[in-house]
Point group: D2
């Protein structure tokens, strides 16, 4: 059954001294189950995967898969310097129970190299691969033509997490080129989530710390109520656009998850940016303006 | 008197066959006067300055200054490969009546080189210089420390157009380092305009095609009514965040200015992206959701 | 008649206070005539074109064309942010008597945009265009396929100055793809000049300050004496590889031209690197090891 | 005892079907012992470390350390996306018997982040750290000031493998800033090896496939015979500069090691470039011109 829906990117919680905090990680999974998402995505940039050791990455995958207990598919990020390392990571994830992997391209501006890389990784796996198209972080431009060629030509490549602004025209172009062979998921903090759905995306993989909003927009849209979907989206856009700031976004989200009682610590591994007092109150004010309560527990009404 | 307020970045209008359209340019100036902005900014990226010849750039400056007739200060963008070219451009603007220039850095990651570049340009002018800090386009990272050092050490460097996300922490850091020597203006389509004002920005230079909104937010904030400023901002954020998409933003804005009866043609010089029919209707729907009327003439009520 | 041979890239000489020094520029042209080169190339990076004003660029073109007096074709570098600026520069050069222009690509990683850019420039000219393929400076990767497509599809695009390492395989690939439609010239300081000739290049455009060597290698090779060409090349390679260091190369060359009595001053516009005493003696020692005399006047025997 | 001398960068040999070839790797170590180098460097770019899995990297380190049998210090490259991964790799190398690690910077243009990264890695180790300063591959510019600050401020940071052209002025500047706290090794294929020694480098870590030459230059120089060192260097520079071409260099070297009977296969993992027939004969001709014999076994006379 093809993947659809909201698959939040989870942060990797740490204890105050910087160790992976399994208890908090399990609580995030429980929270997402309560929210009613369709899956979870771990070990992306937001998950600080690049700041974990190999040992820790395996620990995070095992913990999330175990806590999800089959109730939520777990997608796992793969970032490597070459195919051998990527295959090693992806197979470890597969062996631990991942439902799929979203794979960053090599930092090489050469279409054939990129094609061969995804082919090598996908062919080594039994679980599906999503292309992670995020040039701001990975520095590699993937044309819509290349993406379509990979979707059509590589069996295991079935999805794309599309984060190459301006995303909307690219989304439509990929769909026009490969209408039946690739499922498109949005990202970019949800800033264009409404328009992505309207243009045919399957859902979203992003780290916005109020997944209730994403689920509500998605559900309204899937139920055919575009007007309601837009209303919800527009209401929360002031918060969505604020949270989606490069580099600092993770700190916003750990702050929110912490205040909501889900994770113990807001610790971020260096060189991740931290929040100062002013910024905490700035964020808090916006959260209050859209009507959320940072001190309440559990899923909030949208 | 120090500069403050809303100084919209104007597009450069062309005729359908690609020539600079002076009549439309004059109408944009008239429209901005009617809106009540504090100045205008021309020949930025949004003004397609990099796609104009030297002759055309001078034509645009002369036309805008003439049409503004002293009622609005005109700020002019400068983008060059070296100091001699930048000084030539800036002096031409000064001679034509520009109130100031906003100057892109050299594409060189070396603080001393950048400092010397701004010093050379500023020292050659009688009008003030704004640093244009926009790494996405110029590829040069300017640290807050370097910016403060330039503000303190170079007489003519008096402002910054700050577009290096995440901008908010950087804005506060620049102010802490050089509290009295630099006036900070936002950009980035206005996406963080409210928070920038709250943190002490002087105003904004951006291309959002509904400057009425920026003026309303600015006026409410300056009048001390933060709540009203936030209300206006939040209401229009769905449109602000949509318009602010890289590469395609100019096409949105020319479409809006055209539909509002201000410019004749939506022509954009290659390789600028164009709008397709779907995107036009997508944008139109958002404009209607926030309550604007694309077919009305003149300034609209916010 | 198609272009062939050695077309040295000339530095732009300045007086000690930084003004363009026409007298020295004329002496360089005279020197190149004496050396017996097939043409001269001006306003490349080595010519500090990016550090000149528009006025100065025109002055340099006019001076060189005048001094060459029809005896040497003058190729002129074009570097711009967009097509309108490039066409303006190229037409100015054409009007002043340039034989051709070598044109940097836009800093945009998009094949169609690059194609359209070269087509726009070439179509606006009566003189031929050389693609300047130098990613280290221009940051744009041009595939062999794109280059061949431009050579075949754009009338005026007839040559390439190829400086994208590793150049040799690319040179052969371009020739295989477009055997009759593009003449390839080497660059990169002459470091691979011998192998380029062996693979079919037409000649070289580079700034090596001992053009006698390039002419001697070229003449021996064209006369069918490959062994002699290699002997000459190998003998001078210690100097060729030393001179070809990024950023500092221009300073080496101005030092040499100055010591050889050709230019008055070694002035380089900021932020160009300068030589310290140690480096001057280091360079001098290598020049002496290969048997040249820095203090002699006129062309030296190779 | 501080490190000095020639520490060749070893390629990682594969079998024809792409598996790590331990036998060939042991033969390379034996060859280097016979040449008389002062150490070996593995798992750099030339060692295709980025194309190995974690398991394979450990296999390579263990094999080389075992074969060297204490006769040669083994330096190991570390390339990671963050400190935790780098520390994990470096400790694995240390536990397997590495003498030191040469560590690539993070791809982040922020001096404090880079400092903290090297401090975190060095503090986690008992063996010394060399900074690998190679912006062409790692995309991070390290100023001489930052390097000196790290050398002075981080106990374990003791060496630098300097490959940021133009290297010579930077080498002298680092020495002037941190005369007693950092040992500088050259790289860049040996193209500037003579001048580096003259300016005070401790030796070289590079992949030139005729380490006999590097040892001969080094020995002559250390023996005080600068003239002889220059003679040797100049004689082999035609080959040194040819081998040192980006991307294709590894293929040249595997070809040479294979023809010299040291490694079984010239296999390179994708997307590494391969040699075609023409290029093999081009390289062979240059090797013959400098007087080497590709078909002879053992160390050759320089």
């Amino acid at each position: 059954m093809p993947l659809r829906g909201v698959l939040p990117i989870l942060p990797t919680p740490f204890t105050d001294d910087g160790a992976v905090d399994e208890g908090s990680l399990r609580r995030i999974v429980d929270f997402e189950l309560e929210v009613g998402v369709q899956g979870v995505s771990i070990l992306g940039f937001m998950g600080e995967a690049h700041r974990l050791s190999n040992t820790e990455r395996k620990q995070v995958v095992a913990t999330v898969v175990d806590q999800a207990g089959g109730a939520l598919p777990t997608w796992v990020g793969v970032l490597a310097f070459g195919a051998a390392g990527a295959i090693e990571q992806a197979r470890e994830a597969q062996d631990l129970g991942a439902a799929g992997v979203f794979v960053a391209p090599l930092a090489v501006q050469n279409d054939q190299v990129i094609f061969d890389y995804y082919a090598a990784v996908a062919d080594a796996l039994e679980i599906p691969v999503a292309i992670h198209d995020f040039p701001e972080s990975f520095r590699t431009l993937l044309s819509a033509e290349l993406i379509a060629r990979m979707a059509d030509g590589i069996d295991g490549v079935r999805y794309i997490k599309l984060e190459d602004p301006p995303v909307l025209a690219k989304l439509s172009r990929i769909q026009a080129l490969a209408p039946d062979s690739i499922g498109i998921f949005g990202g970019l903090g949800g800033v264009y989530f409404l328009e992505e759905l309207q243009r045919g995306s399957r859902g979203i993989m992003t780290g916005f710390a109020w997944p209730e909003v994403l689920v509500a927009v998605y559900d309204a849209f899937r139920a055919g109520d575009s007007t309601r979907a837009a209303e919800i989206f527009d209401h929360y856009v002031p918060l969505i656009r604020y949270e989606f700031q490069p580099k600092i976004g993770l700190a916003y989200r750990k702050f929110v998850y912490h205040r909501r009682g889900i994770i113990e610590s807001t610790f971020i591994r260096p060189p991740g940016l931290q929040l100062d007092d002013y910024t905490r109150s700035e964020l808090t004010a916006i959260i209050e303006r859209v009507g959320f309560d940072l001190d309440a527990r559990g899923v909030q009404r949208v």
